[in-house]
């Protein structure tokens, strides 16, 4: 385990964190609330939009056989590729690479040691060759060895300065306006909206409330172990070099059960990592259920990818959609707007094959 972050006092971390929290624009609150107004203005009319409106009407109509009481109106959302951009690499990986570069002066041995050498050389192909083991080493080196409060401050600080390589904007602005509207619309109708992501739970929690309106306790994700330490000062939780739980694939129903304790009635994903969450949500009981898949089909405004992409591969879940009644959202035709902070059409758009 690496030594704790030195030279950064907890007080200054808390202070900078407070600034970050105050500085993040509350995009989620921009939803249209006027009575009679279209609750989903960034969605074009079509089967996808209509399936949402029909589902919400059915489960909220009192006396209807499809009525679901509010406490049981649980909706789960994948994050990467479902709520915000995941190309050309998961944002959390971009964070890890930046952290390696920031920490490199304290680790001269990394110059010759993989996977750090690949990162410092900017050689993503060499990094990819390291496979899952390289990823775990990266996570341990960049996500462990500090307190939970310190990690939260590091993430918040990074998000303030990091920019997406193509769109040249903060990642928290590259969230999908149609999905923000969908989450607000569900909450306005008594739903609890949870994030259920393969990403790190503590990588997401510092910003999901201001950006999505999702509080920390409604975030489910992958985690490393922590240990309580009282010491002589304030008690803290130390982040250990030990993976605790991977909230992806068949792990998603497990994470949902552990954190939520109820089966969702609606689930939204975009990749094969969401297959089991969609199955768990929709293939049970006699309740009305909604399963939706965001299909990235818009190389101009965002990206176009599915079966052949290394990031957010969508193949088995796409094949399983018709038989299970899952609605596939065609980003290009179903979404009038894509990003909450506005679209920049045609800027370097490309399809990923």
């Amino acid at each position: 385990m690496r030594p704790r972050q030195s030279g950064i006092s907890r007080r200054s971390l808390f202070s900078s964190l407070a600034l970050v929290a105050a500085g993040v624009a509350p995009l989620a609150s921009r939803s249209v609330k006027a009575q009679g107004a279209d609750p989903l203005p960034a969605w074009n009319a079509g089967a996808a939009k209509q399936s949402i409106l029909d589902f919400v009407a059915a489960v909220t109509r009192e006396g209807s056989p499809q009525y679901v009481p509010p406490p049981e109106r649980i909706a789960t959302f994948d994050n990467d590729g479902t709520l915000w951009v995941e190309q050309p690499m998961y944002t959390q990986l971009a964070f890890a690479l930046d952290r390696v570069k920031a920490l490199a002066p304290r680790h001269p041995e990394w110059r010759e040691k993989e996977p750090f050498k690949a990162v410092l050389d900017g050689d993503l192909e060499a990094l990819a060759k390291g496979g899952e083991r390289a990823m775990v080493e990266l996570v341990v080196a960049t996500h462990a060895g500090m307190s939970t409060a310190e990690f939260m401050a590091i993430v918040s600080q990074w998000l303030k300065t990091a920019r997406h390589p193509r769109f040249e904007r903060p990642y928290t602005e590259l969230v999908y306006q149609p999905m923000l509207e969908l989450m607000s619309y569900l909450r306005d109708n008594g739903f609890k909206t949870f994030i259920v992501s393969g990403g790190g739970i503590e990588f997401m929690r510092p910003w999901t409330e201001p950006v999505y309106g999702v509080p920390p306790e409604y975030v489910v994700g992958s985690s490393i172990k922590t240990r309580f330490e009282l010491g002589s000062g304030e008690p803290q939780l130390l982040r250990l070099a030990d993976i605790d739980f991977v909230d992806d694939g068949a792990g998603k129903p497990v994470g949902i059960n552990s954190h939520i304790g109820r089966r969702p009635i609606a689930a939204f994903g975009n990749s094969d990592g969401d297959l089991e969450m969609l199955q768990w949500t929709t293939l049970a009981g006699n309740r009305r259920r909604l399963g939706m898949i965001v299909h990235h089909t818009d190389a101009e405004r965002e990206y176009a990818y599915d079966r052949l992409s290394h990031v957010g591969r969508l193949s088995a879940a796409l094949d399983a959609a018709p038989a299970n009644g899952w609605i596939v959202i065609d980003m290009k035709t179903d979404w009038k707007h894509i990003f909450a902070a506005g679209d920049a059409p045609g800027v370097g758009g490309r399809a990923i094959k």
Copy 2:
């Protein structure tokens, strides 16, 4: 691993579960809500009651330096001995013993095999000699090997028929009226009330919402591992013979961080198993915090025990209370009433030495 529960169809389990859910009296909603009325009528006037009122007034007064925004008003409650009776044994242990007896006809080998023999012989001393290993064997034999839905139904069915040996009432009626009022009062003031218990998370979730007003996603507890299985029918989560997490002692801050993701500003416990939760909650930051300990001092109406009890031992946390400003609730003098379903004074009261 034992075979899955046979002879009980999932459909019939769901049906009986629905009946149970409908039959549990919603005790939590009985709180007094009339304006100007005492929000804590089951509390006698005194330092404990006043400390609650003062704390809530301070953190909810807008513009005050001690003001805490609603999303950060997190309060955590231990369950056994803090919200409901834990003597003469944890309710979950009573459940496990009853399950061993119910399952014994299918396990003739248990007649000669510890710890099952001790259970079937009613020899609790022999059982205690088996220590933690015996407890783990009991948990695995009675809590694993079925789906989460089946386990939930078994727990609900058991709670419908089981009676406390002294009070001869359902366990869900032996919840503390003052604590129900406290939880309601906090929620009425914008708090989120979580249960953080050493008990099994899936043993609590079937009944915490009707009994305490605490939904499943606000319950943190100990857990065993589960595995997603699609099979040919409905997908299910199978409960495995493998302990996942023990939410007790130093595990409580870890569980709080994992499930809630924010540090509480108020915590309520009754034993040394709550020591670290109290430390984590109160010994940090410059916010106003509240830590309280239920001290069982009433052998007439409930039980009297602390340092020498095997169940709910209270020693280190009691010693640490004065220096940390934790308020010790004297059950005998601070609580006008004890049980939500009414008290039966003098029935078999005894002190545990």
